[in-house]
């Protein structure tokens, strides 16, 4: 390294060092009497969570060390840790409600009612954040998510189209757009990929048609019903207006189809909404608007589900309970929400809604149900996801596919002890 370069390098690092405190905006100053030791937290990786994770890690002080592990296998790692016979390797986890349902049904989550009472005022905990089961606080929720309608307002205005409120209207609108708008060959884009994605689309429509997944008071399947057949028929009708690659279209691909201006509407995760205005990736900045997910039947509820994400602590907790709870709450306080306001749809009342969250609010208002919380639901969901390609390609009739999925589900649920 020659001399001027060296000097520049030294200067640059000095500047960085000077800026460092200012750059790390995360603060954690309200901890009272933290116990020294190591706290490990696990969670998935997405922008809002990265924001929170930084906040949690900033609580490392004195003898206290907080580490957040971000992994795409968060669900598996969390379930293993919470189920382990000894001390859990993770002292807390950030989970979606689907994972929460599984953990809670196995009695692996630590109630935090006493801690909530103790720190309610200090961290301004709001009732809407507290996830209670039979009165006990089992999780603290911080964000919500739902699939809602994305539509190209510019194109809708141009052709004088109304925002569809039912799937039938959506199909009619798609027909018009396909005929009148050059460049929109496939007006609808939704996540019809084999497995989890398309099974979730099915679940949304199925609930919209008034379907019941299980027989009342049991884990016996009831989704091989009329509502199930109707849900499949609707999905099949939609494929006529979707890219032929629909069986490989996950959230990333659908987002891309919107950003490239190739699709004009579809039901997609609200967490993807702000990416529509990302000038680096989107050709349609400012042109996408958001509304409630259409209903399956006229006058029915919005055919989607509401989700929440929150923090939980395992029953087999090793670290100091009080300190862990405080670290979690530091990262969910008003200050964190204010600094990351646009990252997601926060539960806190101090959140200032952006236009990207309007679809979720509208869906909730239009009666969208909450994602099912029975621990055996994920088994049914998994089996349905496997048969969907056969239905959409016409290899199997909807009813036969549903019967096959129901039978496979019975077997899986029996092996897991849900059906005796």
């Amino acid at each position: 390294m020659n001399r001027p370069t060296l000097r520049r390098a030294v200067l640059a690092s000095a500047t960085l060092l000077a800026l460092a405190p200012a750059l790390s905006l995360a603060k954690c100053e309200k901890l009272s009497q933290p116990k020294a030791g190591e706290i490990n937290i696990v969670g998935n990786s997405f922008p809002a969570l990265q924001h929170i994770a930084k906040e949690m890690e900033s609580c490392s002080q004195g003898g206290l060390k907080v580490q957040f592990k971000m992994t795409p296998r968060a669900r598996e790692e969390t379930e293993q840790a919470f189920a382990s016979a000894g001390r859990s390797p993770f002292d807390a986890a950030v989970v979606s409600m689907g994972v929460f349902a599984n953990l809670d049904s196995r009695g692996q989550i630590q109630p935090m009612t006493d801690l909530v009472d103790k720190y309610r005022a200090k961290y301004k905990l709001e009732d809407s954040m507290l996830v209670r089961v039979n009165g006990q606080v089992m999780a603290v929720a911080f964000m919500q998510n739902a699939q809602n309608l994305f539509y190209r307002k510019d194109l809708f205005d141009k052709h004088g189209l109304k925002v569809p409120t039912t799937y039938a209207e959506m199909l009619a609108t798609a027909k018009t757009l396909k005929e009148k708008e050059p460049g929109i060959e496939f007006p609808i884009a939704q996540t019809f990929a084999k497995g989890w994605d398309s099974a979730t689309e099915f679940a949304n429509l199925f609930a919209g048609f008034g379907g019941r997944f299980f027989k009342p008071g049991s884990a016996q399947p009831d989704f091989n019903s009329d509502a199930g057949v109707k849900a499949f028929e609707t999905m099949k009708a939609m494929t006529a207006y979707m890219t032929p690659n629909f069986l490989a279209s996950n959230s990333d691909d659908v987002m891309n189809q919107f950003q490239q201006g190739k699709a004009a509407m579809g039901v997609l995760w609200a967490s993807r909404a702000s990416r529509m205005d990302d000038p680096a990736a989107s050709k349609i900045v400012g042109k996408m608007a958001f509304a409630a997910a259409p209903a399956a039947v006229a006058g029915g509820p919005s055919a989607t589900h509401l989700w929440w994400d929150g923090v939980v602590m395992p029953k087999n907790l090793g670290a100091d309970r009080d300190t862990v709870f405080q670290v979690l709450m530091e990262a969910l306080d008003e200050e964190t929400v204010a600094r990351g306001n646009d990252l997601t749809i926060w539960v806190r009342s101090s959140y200032k809604p952006t236009r990207f969250g309007t679809g979720v609010a509208a869906s909730a208002k239009a009666g969208a149900p909450i994602w099912p919380s029975q621990p055996f639901f994920s088994l049914a969901h998994g089996e349905i996801g496997k048969v969907i390609p056969d239905v959409l390609t016409g290899a199997m009739s909807p009813k036969a596919a549903l019967d096959a999925a129901a039978a496979a589900y019975v077997k899986a649920a029996t092996d897991k002890g849900f059906i005796k």
């Binding site: 009695g107 496939f186 008071g217 890219t243 891309n256 490239q260 509401l306 088994l379 077997k411 029996t414």
Partner: protein, 346 residues
């Protein structure tokens, strides 16, 4: 060498192999003939969330006196093997022991028959694609790898470094990232469909079986060729120069030198690359999950993964894992026998 000293030399590696290979396999087999389930009971709970309060009828684990969930384990024999293969009685051990459900009991057997049908085609479909992938990629991996190795071997010394680095790139890239890159090339608005559209060809690569399967096979070739290349290139450095000289003096053409001197010399390496690739290819996973998510292209390994992920059943997944190992053993058998015979002759 005396038996005692031979044993002492071999003992450490034998112990390691036992510990790291035989033991996990035995454990997996042990898991695959069992099933453990939590004792669940039906309850109605009041559940409050950010979206309000509701009554939910659900199931919860029965907790023991120590506050931990009670588990019942049982021996299920080879039931899971039959289930994975789509054979046999259909009802698993657990459900066979259970009385039929009171309401709608008549509907279940028909469904079960259908599900059996579905399952068996699922496994056979996965096996068919896995074998197709394995046997379609192997010859191309060997051929292209060898051609590249020859090319680099003959290129001037100066260019060999950059050339080797460039050729190795696909092998170094993480499989998930590589598969994503390929997906982005071929999905809607991707580079390849765009290029084809310039010639008036409209092509959707993930919309039908043949092209979806072709994509994954292409990915497989692209990803593994560098491995064959580097092994064969190393082998080329050791081709005896005197044999080549002698062949040249005897008037052998370049082609004849290649066929009669170079390739026979490299034969063990071809076998080695084939062995490794067969093992890897039978476990094809990432490109399936990333490129097509399994539509038209489920592989054996992906089935195992979904058993774990969707059914959350490690016991059944263990049976699938044992079967995968058995499948690889069957695939490798002819090559292993050949190598063994050569070794004996050797």
């Amino acid at each position: 060498m005396k038996i005692a000293s031979f044993a002492r030399f071999v003992a450490p590696s034998a112990a390691l192999m036992l510990l790291l290979m035989a033991l996990p396999l035995a454990m997996t087999f042990y898991l695959s003939v069992r099933n453990c389930a939590l004792q669940m009971e039906m309850v109605t709970v009041s559940e409050s969330t950010p979206f309000g309060t509701r009554e939910v009828t659900t199931q919860r684990a029965v907790l023991g006196p120590d506050g931990r969930a009670l588990t019942t384990c049982r021996f299920v024999g080879l039931d899971y093997f039959r289930t994975v293969l789509g054979l046999g009685s259909g009802a698993s051990a657990a459900s066979a022991a259970a009385p039929p459900e009171a309401s709608g009991a008549g509907a279940v057997p028909d469904n079960a028959a259908q599900a059996r049908q579905q399952r068996s085609t699922e496994f056979i479909g996965a096996l068919r694609f896995t074998l197709l992938y394995t046997f379609a990629t192997t010859p191309f991996v060997l051929l292209i790898g060898f051609v590249l190795a020859l090319a680099v071997h003959h290129v001037s010394r100066r260019w060999q470094g950059p050339y080797i680095s460039a050729t190795l790139l696909p092998f170094i890239i993480t499989p998930v990232v590589g598969a994503l890159a390929i997906k982005w090339l071929f999905r809607d608005n991707g580079f390849v469909p765009y290029l084809l559209s310039q010639f008036g060809i409209s092509m959707f690569w993930m919309a039908q079986a043949w092209s979806a399967q072709l994509l994954i096979i292409l990915y497989g070739i692209w990803h593994v060729v560098p491995f064959a290349f580097i092994v064969l290139y190393a082998g080329l450095q050791s081709v005896p120069q005197d044999s080549l000289e002698a062949a040249r003096i005897d008037g052998a053409s370049a082609w004849q030198r290649l066929i009669y001197v170079t390739i026979p010399h490299l034969a063990p390496l071809f076998v080695f690359v084939t062995l490794i690739h067969l093992m890897d290819a039978y476990r094809v996973f990432e490109p399936v999950v990333v490129l097509t998510q399994g539509a038209f292209t489920t592989s054996v390994q992906v089935l195992t993964y979904y058993t774990l992920l969707d059914e959350q059943n490690p016991y059944k997944a263990s049976a699938a894992a044992v079967l995968t190992t058995a499948g690889i053993a069957v695939l490798l058998l002819p090559l292993l026998i050949k190598t063994w015979k050569e070794h004996r002759r050797g």
